[in-house]
């Protein structure tokens, strides 16, 4: 309700009854008074007529014209009397005086009752003149027809003006209207004054409530004990105090809760950081002995021994391989989580990817007697080849791993501006409810006993994170017992040049006679790497420090490959040493870095220097591929 409306309504409520009562009283009073005046006027006219009739009786009886004239004149001297006529029984005017308002009076019929009529401003009374009755003994007057009608002697006709009456009535109406208006005015002033005492506090209260509603919680009603709504004002103030108090309480609790949450979040972040650090440190520290162990086992395998020992060595080798896979996967996950892997997109033909993939899974497929089919494609893609390769390798390895019979199909199809890279298998399949689970870490279907040979359960988690990093959409479609189709969408690129002539795969390049300079401060690791390389027929020169390497470089023949640990004593590191050795050798000798450190800075430095980085523990196959590719480029 608007403040104006409150005031208007209160005023209306107060004034309307006053106005109605005043008007009604005035009307009743006026009607009554006007009626009274008229009745009084009529009574006076009738009385006057009766009086004149009585006076004129004897004059009429004696036919005394003079007497009748004086009676008529005397009548006209009365106030408001216009004219008087005395008419005989025969209808002739015996005497008259005054001025008739309209026609002259006449009595055409015998009248025994007084007649009274009003025409315009004049009231006319016709009064029969009857003889005065004197009681006499009835037996003398007891005539034959019993009913004795005293004869009418004549009539008095009297015209009385109503002008003064009408004037009086006008004054009365005027007085009534003035009194009504005066009463109304007085009532209005009083009502306005009284209503303000009610409306002002209401308006004030509504303003306060409005300000309160806008959020000014400190505002209060100025409560006045004399106010008619004092209880309401006090109530509103009390309510406002409570609301303000509870509001403050609420804010305080929210602040406390927020602080608590922040504390817990910090704790959680700290815990995550600690975990990451632990993981990094653990993987680095595990890598060194694993690296050495891998080298030793590879070396051991090269030596001649009896079949029983050969079996043992094969088992040890498998265990070492599994441990290295685990460490690699952990490393990949930690790299992806750390956000240090930055994809670099470039155009490349699908065939390049297919070849690498075929080389890596053909052996295991053949081992399980599965039909592996890689459908050739002419398409070019835009992506990070190595990351995409890792995804496809992971998926294809899984396909081979979970397929017992049938085969694995790797294919590429074009859809619009995208290529769909698909891996189909006829494996055990994944139930619909499990399909969203398989991308989580350490989730392995069909491997409740956690057989390490079946993998770690990190593969698809890595696949998903890598695809996210590349911005490629992946999709899994599977029917349990029938097989699975994995699909990744990759943007298509225009072919850039003719497909390079087919090069022999790195595994086909022999390492016999290749000169390798190995620099590693860890004696065990240096020795293992050197032994492994030697078992492949490589000629190795080893150095523990950069200084030693530089020293040997001046005397030795230029090596084919330099393998340097990233972190070296005396604040030296791999990239710097490689640059300095290349200066000594006078040419860009192929080189790669070896490191047990998964810190992002290491990866970054290796990328800047343009050197491949092989993480410890180094797997012989990986090492061999890296060396072969370096030699091939040369």
């Amino acid at each position: 309700m608007k403040p104006l409306a409150v005031r208007t309504r209160v005023l209306l409520a107060a004034l309307l009854p006053i106005a109605l009562v005043a008007a009604l009283l005035s009307v009743v009073f006026l009607v009554g008074r006007v009626g009274d005046l008229d009745v009084a006027h009529q009574q006076r006219a009738l009385a006057l007529a009766r009086q004149i009739a009585a006076t004129a009786e004897f004059g009429l009886f004696t036919d005394n014209q003079e007497a009748l004239k004086s009676v008529a004149h005397a009548g006209t001297r009365e106030q408001d009397v216009r004219a008087v006529a005395i008419i005989g029984r025969d209808g002739n005017i015996a005497a008259q005086a005054g001025h008739w308002a309209g026609d002259e009076p006449s009595v055409s019929e015998r009248i025994s009752q007084t007649r009274e009529s009003v025409r315009g401003n004049t009231r006319r009374v016709i009064q029969p003149i009857m003889p005065t009755e004197v009681p006499v003994e009835r037996w003398f007057a007891d005539t034959f027809d019993a009913v004795h009608q005293p004869p009418v002697l004549g009539y008095v006709v009297l015209d009385v003006s109503r002008e003064s009456l009408i004037e009086h009535e006008g004054l009365l109406v005027l007085a009534g209207v003035l009194v009504t208006l005066g009463g109304l005015l007085f009532g209005s002033l009083l009502a306005a004054r009284l209503s303000r005492q009610v409306t002002d506090p209401i308006v004030h209260v509504s303003e306060v409530v409005e300000r309160f509603g806008r959020g000014d919680l400190s505002v209060r009603v100025k409560a006045n004990v004399a106010s008619p709504i004092y209880a309401l004002e006090e109530g509103i103030n009390d309510m406002a105090r409570r609301i303000e108090h509870s509001h403050e309480e609420l804010e305080r609790r929210i602040a406390e809760g927020t602080a608590e949450l922040r504390l817990k979040k910090d704790d959680a972040e700290r815990a995550t950081l600690a975990k990451s650090r632990f993981l990094a440190a653990a993987s680095h520290d595990l890598r060194q002995p694993m690296h050495a162990l891998g080298m030793f086992v590879a070396h051991l395998k090269q030596m001649p021994h009896d079949p029983e020992t050969g079996g043992l060595i094969a088992n040890i080798n498998a265990s070492v391989m599994a441990m290295q896979d685990l460490l690699d996967a952990l490393l990949d996950i930690s790299c992806l989580d750390a956000g240090v892997v930055k994809p670099t997109a470039h155009a490349f033909p699908v065939s390049q990817l297919w070849e690498a993939l075929r080389a890596e899974i053909a052996a295991s497929a053949q081992e399980k007697q599965l039909a592996l089919r890689v459908r050739p494609s002419e398409l070019w893609l835009i992506s990070d080849l190595s990351l995409l390769h890792r995804i496809m390798l992971n998926v294809a390895s899984n396909a081979v791993r979970y397929t017992r019979r049938g085969g694995v199909l790797v294919a590429c199809r074009r859809r619009g501006k995208r290529a769909l890279l698909e891996v189909w298998d006829t494996g055990i399949g994944i139930s619909p409810e499990a399909q969203s689970e398989v991308f989580k870490e350490f989730v392995q279907l069909d491997n409740p006993e956690r057989d390490r040979s079946k993998g770690l359960g990190l593969g698809l988690a890595i696949v998903e994170r890598t695809a996210q990093l590349l911005g490629h959409h992946i999709n899994l479609n599977s029917v349990p017992g029938k097989g699975t189709r994995f699909r990744i969408e990759v943007p298509i690129a225009e072919p850039m040049r003719a497909v390079a002539p087919h090069e022999p795969s790195p595994s086909h390049v022999g390492l016999s006679g290749v000169r390798v300079l190995v620099i590693d401060d860890d004696t065990l690791g240096r020795r293992a790497l050197a032994d492994l390389l030697a078992s492949w027929g490589c000629l190795t020169v080893v150095a523990a420090t950069g200084a030693e390497a530089l020293g040997k470089a001046t005397t030795m023949a230029v090596p084919d490959v330099i393998a340097s640990d990233y972190r070296l004593p005396d604040n030296e590191n791999g990239p710097i040493l490689v640059r300095r050795l290349r200066e000594v050798f006078g040419r860009d000798v192929p080189a790669f870095l070896v490191s047990g450190d998964t810190a992002p800075s290491v990866l970054e430095a290796a990328r800047e220097a343009g050197l491949p980085l092989v993480h410890k523990p180094v797997r012989p196959a990986r090492l061999r591929t890296v060396i072969q590719s370096l030699l091939k480029v040369r």
Partner: protein, 304 residues
Amino acid sequence: MRRIAIQLLLLLTTLTWRPALGADTAAIVLSEQGGAYAEVADALRGELGAGAELVEVTPRNPDALLRTQARIVVAVGTQVCRRLAESEVAVPMLCVLLPSAAFEHIAQSAPPKGKSITALLLDQPASRQMALLRLALPHRRDVAVLLGPDSSFMNSPLAASAARHGLKLTSAQIRVPDELSATLQRVLSDADVLLAVPDSAVFNSGTTQNILRTTFQRGVPLVAFSPAYVKAGALLALYTTPAQVGRQAGRTLRDFFAGRALPRTQSPSEFEVSANRHVARSLGIELEDEAVLTERLRKLEQKP
């Protein structure tokens, strides 16, 4: 109501009443109970005594007339007299308490059908009136009298009586009411006393006031026929009271039962004189006391 009752009563009477001879029974028929009529009946009964039976018939017991075997019916008042006269009642009738003008009117307009109708009139004999005038107003000799159509027959007896008492009578007759004022003025111009006669065509409750005012203006006293006129302003009144009428009627019945024939009309034998001293003083008239006047008038009549 009263008229209807009387008519019903008389109708029944005509059908059933068989007069029986021998018993001294009279019926008195009153047009109403109480008042002057009751006075008449009471005085009559008192005068009649135990010698005869009187059956009172009023509008309250109209059938009483059927049960009685009256030999004579006394009709009290002009109306009852006229109704009974017009009826089939065959027994003799005695009408009382009515003026001679009315009785003559009845006698002429409704001739008796083989029955005798007699009356005991209210009119004082002309000689008594003239005697009173001589006694009370010895210096006024010119007497005026106004007569109506029914009282015109009084003219000659009055004139004769006036002459016997040494008075000059001026009489005038009113034929229509409008003539009253002018005729009155005329007769008064030569008179020093106005004698009123009971004729309602001239003297009634409506005319009395104006007649009195006229006479008063002329200084002429009015001698009237009832005490009501004295109250209204007449100087004197010579009259017979209802009780006196009743007593005279009783005596008449006794005579009737005794076998004497009834005279056609009788004048009242008893009378009273009433006077208005204020009017006398206003008119400058020395007047004897009314009792003295009455006494002297009676003594005059008792002289042979």
